[in-house]
């Protein structure tokens, strides 16, 4: 690549926003380049010429840079490599940094020699809808063809590659609040932000460019007889001095949501590349809650279509102006500009000032004389009533043809060749109404400006100002911005009065209206390569739109899906309006009648990292640790996640397998004493004279008879009669109870009680308070447990007579206040000792020192399953009643309670529902798969009759074999039957149906 020969020599024009003192080296497709601080990747590359840097999506035609901002359809690049890599970034929005490395996407094997270009030459067989017609149709074998060709098509299609290495970066998130959020820092946005800040409002001004200024960054505008950028600098200074104004450059608003909630992505470390300082996040996702929003999002220039309008060197006219004025880059020696409105004249004048010969084809028969005269005076060749018909050249513009254009876009008469290596096209402006559309704004067709503008959203606290409203003049932008900012601040309650600034602009004499031109048609030279593109990113041509119309895909939604118009990463920012206008021409409708598709967030693509934010790695989800966590971690605990809790699953000794550890722990509880950390169990203190009434209503059993000092097991159901929690509730004093819940439902149950207390039974005098974390809980269980707890320094009498099964005692343990429950989930004599959380580690250590074996959740599961004790969420799944589990003993017949009435509904009252049963595999060494489906006949022809499923399944050290619990249809009447449990892969295991209790069935062990 020869040098940056298209960078204008210093002093040709003012240097815009680049710093020639700060050169930056970078590489593109492996070649070395140099740009300047202030460049984008696009401007730095254009300084070397408008060479192809991409291949198009479908036809793999060479493509160059087309725009200068978010609207860019072509110049998608893969930025950097490895974990840092990002695909499909727009070169026009990548701020240049030293050492940047980027590559083309969608070219194979390279952008200069792309084998897939064959698609272009074969295009007659690849019309719109090709894939649907060929592969998705009902024709014989269509599906088979698709399977055969899909891998090839998938590789040929698509753009960049997703990184395969983990993302090494940090992404932050920030919640912000303001009175007025202003989106877009062009003249309208700056004016709005100033007006709002002057009224004392909290203002956030967001702009996706590297610096505020918007259109003024082109450097050719004047305000108050000085360069407009001086006004920008002064405005920023005033915002900086305001007490509560925040200006966020390099920040793109991605979406607007209900109640004026906005998300925006700020490039922080990103602009320094992989070498960014370590403490900086790459991106920051802003979540902004604004009382009022001003959208000053500007407008995107649209082209009109003509043959080979995708040839590198063909660009949006206003983009050429920006590259020249902002970056001192003009990627050509001779320019042809085509326009149907006034805006190309500024481009022409700027190029002329830079010494570039310009031909300006103005489609209007009578261009506005003031503009045309000024242009001609500057040496511009203004051709009235003319439009660009075709561009010549393949990998680069080598010339063009223009001709006289009729109102429908047809060329009449002879074509005239124009020497040019740079072609700019200006087909009018599309207000960037995307964000308004996110809030439900309906695009309204503005015939005078021939564009869609957002309708009024003031009622939602949303105002628009500047080019997004269709405004064309700088004066209008400043004026509208001021009014919107002032009104927004006032609506947000900022009533300080301000004076409207009186600014003089360089808008000059009135121009002439646009003569809308969508596509220039007629006989084109070079039949094969004369494609006229509507959507450059998705390779949708004028012919494709006509084909869609002929095949009756006329609604805008059908047009989009049939042709893929507007479905690329640019979401058709330059393409949509032309596409639907052409559809209107084909079908005799106005663009408004054709309608628009709905814009949805995000406005520009958002990297997943920015969305994930801080929620990754060790901080992905909150972690909850019990007071004894450190002991567990230091003593071989393998943790399992129970909700957010880290609970010891088992404690593995050196060289011990997990299975061996679980077996050892189970045997310790059965034969000696074990201790388990049960701190995670939900605990709710209930106080007040009406607690017993509440308990009677939420639990299925009777609570009138529970005496102080006693505890009782209860089942809770929802109103549909299905179990949702269980636990033990103890009566500590006349009007003071403590309820325990399952670990996972601690919060749910408290919320459940509060809901009934607040909304249905406010007359009940009950206070419910979670004390889950106030207490550390150690459960001591086993035949040696009494000896062990009796050895604790405590004032509690642990004898059977004084402290029987299902009793509760308060006292002191190790000098700390304690609540002790004599309850058993293991089937052994067992005490749950609760001490204040900060004393938990000492209690735990004392029990370990006394000889207890620590056991984890898996041993606990085995122990309770041997007893046939259920776990809510394992034996139940929201479709299981107490009767299904054979727990009718826990149901009162004397009272009403939540869920009771549902049990007499026919389906709930059926005798053959699924029942809880035990299963003993015929091969006692087989552990049945949990979740395994139960069938009567594994050889049955599908559909196989399902009888239920295995809910819990373990190897039991106590039983010397494996066993399972299951929900089995009509299970209680199948005792002794043999059923079959399907394996997860193939085959089945036979098992005998037994009662769901395997160990110490009369419960003698836990009572004494």
């Amino acid at each position: 690549m020869s040098g940056p020969q298209f960078r204008l020599p210093a002093d040709t024009l003012p240097d815009g926003r680049i710093d020639r003192e700060a050169p930056l080296g970078f590489s593109f497709n492996g070649e070395s380049f140099t740009g300047y601080a202030g460049d984008t990747l696009a401007s730095a590359l254009l300084a070397y010429g408008a060479f192809p840097l991409a291949r198009s999506f479908k036809y793999h035609r060479p493509r160059g840079i087309f725009g200068a901002g978010a609207e860019e359809p072509n110049a998608l690049v893969q930025l950097e490599t490895g974990g840092y890599s990002q695909p499909n970034l727009r070169a026009t929005q990548i701020e240049l940094y030293g050492g940047l490395s980027a590559a083309s996407v969608n070219a194979w094997p390279s952008v200069d020699f792309d084998l897939m270009r064959v698609n272009d030459w074969l295009s007659p067989i690849f019309p719109s809808g090709f894939y649907y017609k060929t592969f998705m149709g009902a024709g014989v074998g269509a599906g088979r063809w698709w399977r055969l060709f899909e891998p090839f098509i998938r590789r040929a299609a698509g753009f960049g590659r997703a990184p395969t290495a983990p993302d090494p970066d940090r992404y932050e998130r920030m919640n912000a609040h303001c009175d007025v959020l202003v989106v877009g820092a062009g003249p309208a946005g700056l004016s709005a932000a100033l007006a709002a800040a002057n009224r004392g409002g909290r203002v956030i001004l967001v702009d996706d460019q590297t610096e505020p200024g918007g259109d003024l960054l082109a450097g050719d505008r004047r305000i108050d007889d000085a360069p407009a950028m001086d006004w920008v600098a002064a405005a920023l200074e005033r915002l900086g001095a305001a007490p509560d104004a925040t200006v966020l450059a390099r920040t793109a608003v991605a979406g607007l949501y209900d109640d004026n909630f906005a998300t925006a992505v700020e490039s922080v470390g990103d602009r320094f590349g992989p070498g960014a300082p370590d403490h900086l996040p790459r991106l920051r996702l802003w979540r902004i809650r604004a009382r009022q929003i001003v959208l000053a999002t500007g407008a995107h220039e649209r082209p009109y279509a003509f043959a080979n309008n995708d040839t590198p060197g063909t660009m949006l006219g206003n983009a050429i102006r920006h590259y020249a004025g902002r970056y001192a880059v003009v990627p050509g020696r001779q320019a042809l500009l085509g326009t149907d409105n006034d805006s190309a004249y500024r481009t022409a004048l700027l190029l002329a000032r830079a010494g570039i010969p310009v031909t300006l084809a103005d489609a209007r028969e009578t261009p506005p004389s003031a503009l045309a005269d000024a242009a001609r005076q500057a040496g511009v060749d203004v051709e009235a009533g003319c439009a660009i018909s075709a561009v010549l050249g393949d990998r680069r513009v080598r010339g063009a043809k223009i001709g006289r254009v009729l109102p429908d876009g047809e060329i009449s008469g002879a074509l005239r060749p124009v020497e040019a290596d740079l072609v700019g096209v200006s087909g009018g402006w599309n207000p960037a109404l995307h964000l308004a559309s996110h809030r439900g704004a309906r695009p309204v067709w503005n015939e005078a400006q021939t564009c869609f503008v957002p309708d009024d959203l003031t009622a939602l606290g949303l105002r628009t100002a500047g080019a997004v409203t269709g405004a064309g003049s700088l004066a209008d932008c400043l004026e509208q911005g001021y009014a919107a900012g002032r009104d927004a601040a006032r609506a947000a309650g900022r009533t300080k009065r301000t004076r409207k600034p009186d600014l003089k602009t360089d808008d000059g004499a009135a121009g002439a209206p646009i003569r809308p031109l969508w596509a220039v048609t007629g006989r084109q030279p070079g039949s094969r390569r004369g494609k006229a593109f509507v959507d450059l990113q998705n390779d949708v041509t004028v012919k494709d739109v006509a084909l869609a119309a002929r095949e009756n895909y006329r609604s805008v939604e059908h047009l989009k899906r049939y042709t893929t118009l507007g479905m690329g990463t640019d979401q058709g920012k330059t393409a949509n309006v032309i596409g639907l206008a052409l559809m209107g021409v084909e079908t005799g409708r106005s663009p408004e009648a054709v309608g628009t598709t709905t814009f949805r967030p995000p406005y520009t693509p958002v990297p997943f990292g920015a969305l994930a934010g801080r929620d990754r790695g060790a901080l992905f989800d909150p972690v909850r640790e019990t007071p004894m966590f450190d002991w567990h971690a230091a003593n071989g605990a393998v943790f399992e996640d129970v909700g957010q809790w880290k609970r010891p699953y088992a404690y593995r000794r050196d060289g011990e397998s997990l299975e061996a550890a679980i077996g050892r722990e189970v045997r310790a509880v059965r034969n000696a004493a074990g201790v388990m950390d049960a701190s995670t169990l939900g605990k709710i203190d209930l106080k007040g004279p009406d607690v017993v009434t509440l308990l009677n209503r939420v639990y299925t059993n009777d609570w009138e008879t529970l005496k102080v000092g006693r505890a009782r097991y209860g089942l809770m159901c929802h109103e549909d009669g299905m179990i949702f929690d269980d636990g033990v509730t103890a009566r500590l004093a006349d009007d003071h109870y403590v309820m325990t819940t399952t670990t996972g439902n601690a919060v749910t149950v408290l919320n459940w009680l509060e809901m009934w207390l607040q909304t249905e039974w406010p007359e009940l005098r009950v206070f419910a308070t979670s004390v889950t974390e106030a207490w550390a809980t150690a459960t001591v269980a086993g035949p040696e447990a009494r000896r062990l707890v009796s050895g604790l320094d405590s004032d509690i009498d642990w004898s059977d007579d004084a402290f029987p099964h299902m009793a509760v005692r308060t006292g002191t343990v190790l000098g700390a206040p304690a609540r002790v429950f004599r309850v058993s989930f293991s089937g052994e004599a067992s005490w749950e000792i609760n001490v204040p959380a900060h004393c938990g580690p000492a209690l735990w250590q004392a029990l370990i020192d006394g000889g207890a074996t620590p056991y984890g959740t898996e041993a606990m599961h085995v122990l309770r399953a041997e007893k046939g004790f259920i776990i809510v969420g394992q034996e139940t799944d929201g479709t299981v009643t107490p009767h299904d589990l054979g727990m009718g003993w826990a149901v009162s017949k004397r009272k009403d309670f939540i869920g009771k009435r549902s049990w007499s509904r026919p389906d709930t009252a059926r005798p053959d529902r699924k029942h809880l049963v035990g299963l003993l595999p015929l091969d006692s060494g087989t552990v049945l798969p949990e979740g395994g489906q139960i069938v009567a006949d594994p050889e049955q022809e599908p559909p196989v009759t399902m009888l239920g499923h295995v809910t819990s399944s373990y190897k039991s050290p106590s039983l010397d074999g494996s066993f399972a619990l299951a929900l089995l249809k009509n299970g209680r009447n199948r005792m002794g039957d043999t059923v079959h449990v399907l394996r997860l892969d193939e085959g089945a295991d036979a098992a005998r149906v037994v009662a769901p209790a395997f160990y110490d069935k009369d419960g003698g062990r836990m009572r004494g």
Partner: protein, 206 residues
């Protein structure tokens, strides 16, 4: 054997975890693990009854919802219309309140060990909290005396600004089980600006 009456503290020194200083400016954010709390949960549907219960021993009267008042080192947080938390300087007044009749108009429950306080101070304290808090912590919206129970990421906390001062210092009450997670989270979030960690130094880890 460890003396059970010496409080253990999840954020006690030495604490394995993030380095105690990091980032460009170690004064930008200062995280301080608060001492063990003496904390009561108070539920009551009759504000006058609560005020009369607290008036004599503590000279405190209920503030509006989402506000806190302090007097002589005791702080009363109003979490909801019928819900308060009382943070006491000493154990004694708390014990006296705990003797209230459970059938009376005020439900008093000891939740001291269930919660811990983390101080978040420094010129960038608000920015660190705003990374997860959705409540507006701007001084206009969150003046001294504000105390909002809210969702911080996925952790329920009470964020309070108990005292005047610039830059504002925040007090975050977090459940004991989440304290270390939040501590690590805050340190990680503060790395961008720089931080100093001050673990609790008055007792053993646990």
């Amino acid at each position: 054997m460890a003396d059970p009456l010496v409080p253990t503290h999840p954020l006690a020194d030495p604490l394995s975890g993030p380095p105690e200083e990091a980032g460009p400016d170690s004064a930008a954010v200062v995280l301080t693990a608060g001492p063990p709390l003496v904390l009561l949960d108070l539920r009551c549907r009759d504000r006058a009854a609560l005020d009369s219960l607290l008036k004599k021993p503590l000279e405190l009267a209920s503030p509006p919802v989402a506000r806190a008042v302090s007097k002589s080192g005791n702080t009363l947080f109003r979490l909801g219309p019928d819900w308060w938390q009382l943070r006491c300087k000493k154990r004694k007044p708390a014990d006296r309140l705990l003797r209230a009749d459970p059938a009376g108009p005020v439900g008093v429950t000891d939740i001291s060990d269930a919660w811990l306080a983390i101080g978040v101070a420094g010129p960038r304290a608000r920015d660190v909290l705003a990374k997860a808090a959705t409540v507006d912590l701007h001084p206009d919206a969150f003046p001294a005396g504000s105390a909002a129970r809210t969702l911080f990421g996925r952790v329920t906390v009470v964020i309070a600004r108990l005292e005047d001062g610039e830059p504002p210092a925040f007090d975050v009450t977090v459940s004991r089980s989440n304290a270390r997670f939040l501590w690590r989270w805050l340190a990680d979030a503060a790395r961008e600006y720089g931080y100093t960690l001050k673990p609790f130094s008055g007792g053993g880890a646990g």
